[in-house]
């Protein structure tokens, strides 16, 4: 009998998106596609709802949100704080705790480090960036800390940007919901993001890769200018590359909990952080994921420190806003296109 609250990632598929959020459901699909994904588990929106219900937070949340208007940032900030404080005081339900502890234990002995991320549901998942639902807690260790991080993700549903976003959509009355993804942490030597097309030019034959040293936070958060590679899907050749100065990186905190932002050794700052075989592996994975989902994907990945050939995908989602060149030639007959070359096309082409 599968749980409605917590479930291993490899038991999820796209159909579970409404219950577990897009991130968790996509990771389940990736595992089915045999893409290397760190093992983990997911919490459903039901877990969040159980939390709100058992702690009796429902009314308090509704009250805090009532009467807010889009532009009133001070009021939104106060409401966010009120709700956040109330949520942090409330305990995570025992049923959720038990299942989290069980699944966490299955990930390994000695409190293995995990990443805890929000997994947005429904329309929010398309605009998760705007909705402020991109909370990520890295290098979390111990079942108790995992539960705390889960609760922090839930709190992020009521961050000022998230409240503002829903106000703009006119969803004031609707109580939001959210899933959470918990995944084994890869101690990344290099990590980054890749698109299965060139997001700048719109070229569908390219994989665009951004990469920097350490955990993915620095690239995702825009804290470094990452190395920039453009690789042909068709021939796997490197079409363009820009190696930038990567001065900071995130590494596991020496305390054993969380990630620390540290300076990159000067001699490594200007070093190209991916070699040809690594690029080749990334492009192979990108194509596999793109084919599987049938649309362009925005993929977060990491290369393990203890295994340079170990490439892991930690997240994928559809590319939503793709830059399109406005002057893309229309699909016309070959002859009329040639006529246009000579200025002999239809009047509108001249």
């Amino acid at each position: 009998m599968t749980s409605q609250l917590v479930r291993p990632l490899d038991q999820l598929s796209l159909g579970d998106e409404p219950g577990f959020g897009g991130k968790s459901a996509n990771l389940g699909e990736l595992l089915a596609a045999e893409v290397p994904v760190p093992p983990g588990f997911a919490l459903s929106t039901a877990a969040f709802e159980a939390f709100v219900h058992e702690a009796g937070l429902s009314d308090r949340i509704s009250r805090a949100l009532s009467g807010l208007s889009v532009g009133n940032l001070d009021a939104i900030g106060r409401a966010s704080q009120t709700i956040g404080e109330a949520m942090r005081r409330a305990p995570v339900p025992g049923s959720v705790r038990t299942e989290v502890a069980e699944q966490y234990a299955a990930l390994g002995a000695d409190d293995p480090p995990v990443a805890v991320r929000s997994s947005a549901v429904g329309e929010d998942s398309q605009d998760a960036t705007f909705a402020g639902q991109q909370e990520t807690y890295l290098w979390v260790r111990g079942a108790e800390h995992v539960c705390e991080a889960v609760r922090d993700c839930w709190v992020s549903l009521f961050s000022p940007p998230a409240i503002s976003y829903r106000l703009r959509l006119g969803e004031r009355a609707h109580t939001p919901a959210m899933g959470v993804t918990v995944q084994s942490m890869v101690d990344a030597e290099v990590s980054g993001v890749m698109f299965t097309c060139n997001p700048v030019s719109g070229d569908p034959s390219m994989v665009a890769i951004n990469a920097s040293w350490g955990l993915g936070l620095a690239v995702v958060g825009g804290e470094v200018t990452p190395d920039d590679y453009l690789v042909s899907k068709v021939t796997r050749e490197l079409v363009r590359e820009h190696v930038h100065t990567k001065d900071v990186q995130y590494v596991p905190d020496p305390s054993g909990h969380g990630a620390a932002r540290v300076a990159v050794a000067p001699e490594r700052q200007d070093v190209r952080c991916l070699d040809a075989p690594a690029l080749e592996r990334l492009v192979g994975v990108a194509r596999k994921i793109e084919r599987y989902f049938g649309c362009h994907q925005d993929i977060e990945w990491a290369v393990a420190r203890d295994d340079p050939e170990g490439l892991f995908v930690v997240q994928t989602r559809p590319v939503t806003a793709l830059a399109k060149k406005t002057e893309t030639p229309k699909a016309e007959s070959a002859m009329s296109l040639i006529m246009s070359t000579f200025g002999a096309g239809k009047p509108s082409d001249n």
Binding site: S201, M206, V239, A334, T341, F342, P347, N350
Partner: protein, 612 residues
């Protein structure tokens, strides 16, 4: 690094360019209409002219001006008067200090453009629909023309005419035959140029449309992949080298390969081969290959001194030596044609598969049409620029020899320092004085003229022409200028930025890859021998006929050229990084400097200022 913003007047006025010291009077080598004349100043000064260094990288000898006049007569006829390309008539040229600047004549009246569009659609459409048949006829025409050139005799002037002239039905005397032969030689050249351009615009246009279509829908696609999808497999231009590879294998099979020692001259090799039966048999096989495959030019054909492999066998012999030593060390030297076909079809399928269905339809149609026109795009060079033209220069040399035998010239080769009208004039006086028995003035008249012009050309060679002169255009719209020379609005703006000098040159990324190395600036085919292993070739434009050095060099930089230029296509075939259309690489870079060529970004950086 030059960062000056482009501005009006970035380029010098053609009327303000100074004559280099000692070059006064250079104008005498060129037709009156080829000069920036005060009587046309108002018009000419307000036009944009760019240096056609792709075709004319060095100062023009007087006779070679025919290779400017005829092509522009021919291309304009087809473009403007036959196909009526709607927005563009023909191309005007002018000469400055011996260098050739060109400028297109646009059509701006919308009514006129619409009128021309009707002609164009009908006539160009007919050519595209019947391409294979028309091109088949074209090859027959060209082969007949080349045969006729071969049969054209340049008669000598006898002491007494033969009995045949006296008693036979053919009563033409030598004076007529000489003048007639010269006239026919010129007419055959006109015909060749007419044929040369019959398919050129349409062929390049179809291919160019495919290139643009790919770049519109696949903005980051490397040019090389586009070329690979279209490239011919059984291309005539690859035949000469294929024949050399076959001869290399034959040499090994018949045990005569030991004659091919690095450093030996062709005649030394031939001498050794002549000493054995197997060697003589090999030489017989070579003779069979020579016609037509040794009609490859050693340069791009538009100057008289670009001969063929027949004139200078050192290039094919160097290839033979290379192929033989590669075979001896067990290397595979054949073009992997099956692999090339597989890869070409795989690329087309993969790229097509990335496009939506409607777009894929246009993509496939354009690809098929490009493949249809491509044999012409590749092969016209062999027929016209190489085979015909190298033989035609030799025909003109025969007239030079006739003039030299009669002391009108010191050396037959000096014929190229007279204009074609002056040669006609010299021949006129020669046959006149032969007929009358009088004392000709020619021997006192022509030799000093030729000597003076040789000196002028030598000095003009040191002058560096600006990439453009006249008015900076707001936008380059002429489809021919863009298609054939790669001169786009961006390119002109880059030139304008570079006018004040700089150490970074920008051009078109023609073949991907980044290398650093020593520059070798080659301004003429005669300098090819100076190129050393591992150097970066810097030239006006590369020529596919320079095949042997492509295996030596590690990158190419040219002054002018676009993705359409044959040179760019061949650079990709050899997998060398190439930046084309830099505007002034040969004027900026010096032999011996270390440069970085980024064929992916289209930049050339001068890293050191030291000179060899």
């Amino acid at each position: 690094m030059a960062t000056t913003a482009p501005k009006a007047g970035a380029f010098p006025s053609p009327y303000e360019i100074e004559t280099p010291p000692g070059c006064e009077g250079w104008e005498e080598m060129y037709p009156y209409y080829a000069l920036f004349d005060e009587r046309r100043r108002e018009i000419d000064e307000n036009r944009f002219w760019f240096w056609n260094s792709m075709h004319f990288p060095v100062p023009m000898p007087a006779f070679d001006v025919i290779c400017i006049d005829s092509p522009y007569q021919a291309v304009g006829s087809w473009q403007n008067r036959v196909f009526a390309v709607p927005p563009a008539m023909g191309i005007d040229y002018r000469c400055v200090n011996g260098y050739i600047y060109i400028s297109g004549n646009p059509v701006t009246d919308p009514a006129k453009i619409a009128e021309r569009a009707e002609f164009f659609q009908k006539r160009a459409g007919y050519y595209f629909q019947n391409w294979a048949e028309l091109y088949g006829k074209w090859r027959v025409k060209m082969e007949a023309l080349i045969r006729e050139l071969g049969e054209l005799e340049v008669p000598d002037l006898p002491e007494y005419e033969s009995d045949e002239v006296a008693f036979g039905d053919e009563r033409n005397t030598a004076f007529y035959e000489v003048l007639n032969a010269y006239g026919r030689a010129l007419r055959l050249s006109d015909l060749m140029w007419q044929h040369h351009f019959e398919f050129l615009l349409l062929g390049y246009g179809a291919y160019g449309t495919f290139v643009e279509f790919c770049k519109g829908h696949l903005p980051d696609i490397p040019d090389q992949h586009i070329a690979q999808m279209v490239a011919g497999i059984d291309v005539l231009l690859f035949r000469p080298d294929a024949e050399l590879r076959r001869l290399a294998r034959l040499a090994i099979e018949t045990g005569v390969d030991s004659a091919f020692v690095q450093g030996r001259t062709p005649s030394e090799i031939d001498a050794e081969l002549m000493q054995s039966d197997a060697g003589r048999a090999w030489l017989e096989e070579l003779e069979k290959v020579k016609d037509p495959w040794f009609n490859m030019a050693t340069g791009d054909g538009l100057y008289h001194y670009y001969g063929s492999w027949l004139d200078d066998p050192s290039i094919p012999y160097a290839s033979l030596i290379g192929h033989i030593s590669a075979l001896q060390s067990g290397e595979q030297i054949d073009r992997p044609t099956e692999e090339i076909v597989r890869e070409r079809d795989r690329l087309a399928e993969e790229y097509g598969g990335l496009l939506d269905e409607a777009t894929r339809g246009s993509f496939n149609d354009l690809l098929n049409l490009s493949r249809t026109v491509f044999p012409y795009v590749e092969e016209h060079k062999f027929f016209c620029d190489y085979w015909f033209l190298t033989r035609w220069w030799n025909k003109i040399r025969e007239f030079g020899a006739l003039l030299a035998r009669n002391d009108f010239l010191q050396d037959g080769e000096d014929v190229f320092h007279l204009s074609r009208y002056e040669v006609a004039s010299a021949l006129d006086e020669l046959v006149l004085s032969w007929a009358t028995g009088g004392v000709p003035l020619g021997p006192k008249h022509w030799p000093p003229i030729a000597a003076r012009r040789k000196e002028l050309l030598r000095k003009l060679n040191d002058w560096t022409p600006p990439p453009a002169i006249g008015v900076t255009p707001q936008a380059v719209t002429d489809p021919m200028t863009i298609m054939l020379w790669g001169v786009t609005t961006e390119r002109v703006q880059e030139w304008a930025r570079q006018v004040e000098g700089g150490t970074v040159l920008n051009g078109a990324a023609a073949s991907p890859g980044v290398v650093e190395g020593t520059a070798r600036v080659v301004k003429s085919a005669g300098q090819i021998g100076e190129v050393r292993d591992g150097e970066i070739l810097v030239c006006g434009s590369t020529s596919p006929a320079w095949a042997p050095i492509f295996s030596k060099i590690k990158a190419t930089v040219t002054d002018v050229g676009g993705v359409m230029s044959h040179a760019a296509i061949v650079a990709r075939e050899y997998g060398l990084p190439a930046v084309v259309g830099t505007g002034r690489a040969t004027g900026t870079i010096r032999t011996g400097q270390t440069i970085r060529v980024d064929g992916s970004e289209g930049t050339v950086t001068v890293l050191t200022v030291s000179e060899a």
